[in-house]
Amino acid sequence: MVRRLAPNLACLLVLLGAGGCFDVRTVDPGPYILDDFDDGDLQPADPNFRPWWCHGFNPDTLANINCDHDTGDQSAFSLFLDATIVDPPDGTQQHGGASLGTDASAPEDFTRFSQFRFSAKLESGSPPIPSNALLYVELGCDGARAEDGSVPGDLYVVQGVDYKSYWQPFTLAMDSFNSPPWLATHIMGGPAGCLQRISNIRFTVDEQLPDGQSGRFVLDVDTISLQ
């Protein structure tokens, strides 16, 4: 008797529910703020990410590379990277530049987000950087596997940014991040295989300096969020 009654009661409840009034609109939780810098420290709001860092590459250097707080995009603070890069006069364009970044203490899955948002401006300094200098957002996945099963430790996906010398907001679709064409190693599972285990976030400027030239820039970044 009890066994027969229970399903009937369940059906009744379902029918009652179907006929009732429920507000089924979804509520947008809003963007997840990775860091807006307005707390005045250099620790991302997401505690899994370590304090921000900067460095120069090609050649690797910390000389004439600085990063710290700056005035924000209509906010108290942003983060700046002030870098002077020298391309060694050796007959080869080194694609030197500098990055602002933050490392995760543990890998995070970014495939649950659809957009990567931030504000930025990139100003040329003295000596000026070429007008074709490139700004990238790079999402690193150090623990991701290459297609041959190895873990090279330096894999990442990238997306270019059409920057200006004044503040602009940017929204990058998460599924538009791709392996950089200059990286010979293919990520197992494609870009999603990387996005599932993000270990660092980098804002990278490739100054596109001709051989033997130098250039200085200031990159400002603010209000980094995930949607």
Partner: protein
């Protein structure tokens, strides 16, 4: 909301008053009853610096030490063991404190900065659980290297301390499920203290994280840990040994990645500086991070299974 994966790290804050309400009274019998289910490691009341836990046959009790990077060794108190092998002492509590019901504590282990640490890994204080017999009949203390470290040769860098300076050996802690202690930290400094155990996989004396060269410890000391956020009043914290985890981003990690309870060397209480990058070739935004702290650890016990 946080993106961080919630680690299954269990730290229980046990208000002493609850325990006291059940069993609080004076006298040794009630004290023993109150601490039943626990095994004392050290109550920090003596002056020897030796822990009270009964060491395994053939071994002697471990002792307390403090450490930081040798370039800033004068910025912490007590001084690091490799600067002053006799520098350790317990500190008098501002006011006596009841830990287990009927057990009054007047002293604790205290580690503090005299001036902020800047650009180094941090600082810690800790113990070996037990020491092996001294080699060639020599003294167990001070460690032989500790005497030399305070005075490096002219123009030479200072000498970093290492657990290999001690003759500690592995002990079996598999009859314990956890560790409990009372802790507090001043509100003006760092208050997150890492409780860490090193086993034969993560202590360089185990020879596993540094198989080719014992002195190459770059993959060692990624011990099994939990972070405890302390308040400015002595509060009991209990750490479940089965929940301790390594930092997944560096160092030697055994498979399975769990504490080897049958071969544990040491335990430490550590404050880390913010570490901005896993790569050494990076500059922290805003300059080198620095940290000041002043924290106390009192009445350290194992939780029996």
């Amino acid at each position: 909301m946080t993106l961080r994966q919630i680690l299954r790290v269990h730290v229980f804050v046990v208000p002493s008053l609850l325990a006291c309400a059940a069993t609080c009274s004076s006298g040794k019998a009630s004290s023993d009853a109150a601490s039943a289910g626990y095994t004392k490691i050290d109550d920090m009341e003596g002056t020897s610096g030796l822990i009270e836990w009964t060491s395994p046959p053939g071994m002697t009790p471990g002792f307390w030490w403090s450490a930081t990077d040798c370039t800033e060794s004068d910025r912490i108190s007590p001084l690091p063991f490799f600067v002053n092998p006799y520098g350790w002492s317990y500190a008098a509590l501002p006011i006596p404190h009841e830990t287990f019901p009927g057990i009054a504590s007047t002293h604790a282990a205290r580690l503090r900065t005299i001036s902020p640490l800047t650009g180094v890994w941090g600082a810690n204080m800790g113990i070996d659980f037990a020491e092996l017999p001294a080699l060639a009949g020599g003294p167990i203390w001070p460690p032989p290297m500790g005497v030399d470290a305070a005075a490096p040769a002219d123009g030479q860098p200072c000498i970093q301390g290492t657990s290999r300076d001690f003759n500690g050996g592995p002990v079996d802690l598999s009859s314990y499920s956890g560790i409990t202690f009372w802790g507090m930290a001043t509100m003006t400094g760092a208050r997150t203290v890492r409780v860490q155990l090193n086993d034969r996989n993560t202590d360089p004396r185990g020879g596993i994280c540094n198989p080719a060269d014992p002195s190459n410890e770059s993959n060692c000391y990624n011990g099994f840990r939990v972070e405890v956020a302390m308040t400015d009043s002595l509060t009991q914290y209990t750490v479940d040994l089965s929940s301790l985890q390594q930092d997944p981003s560096w160092g030697y990690r055994p498979d399975p990645d769990v504490l080897d309870l049958q071969h544990v060397y040491a335990m430490s209480f550590e404050v880390d500086l913010p570490n901005c990058s896993v790569s050494s070739n990076a500059k922290c935004a805003g300059g080198s991070p620095s940290v000041a702290f002043d924290f106390w650890i009192d009445d350290l016990y194992f939780v029996n299974k």
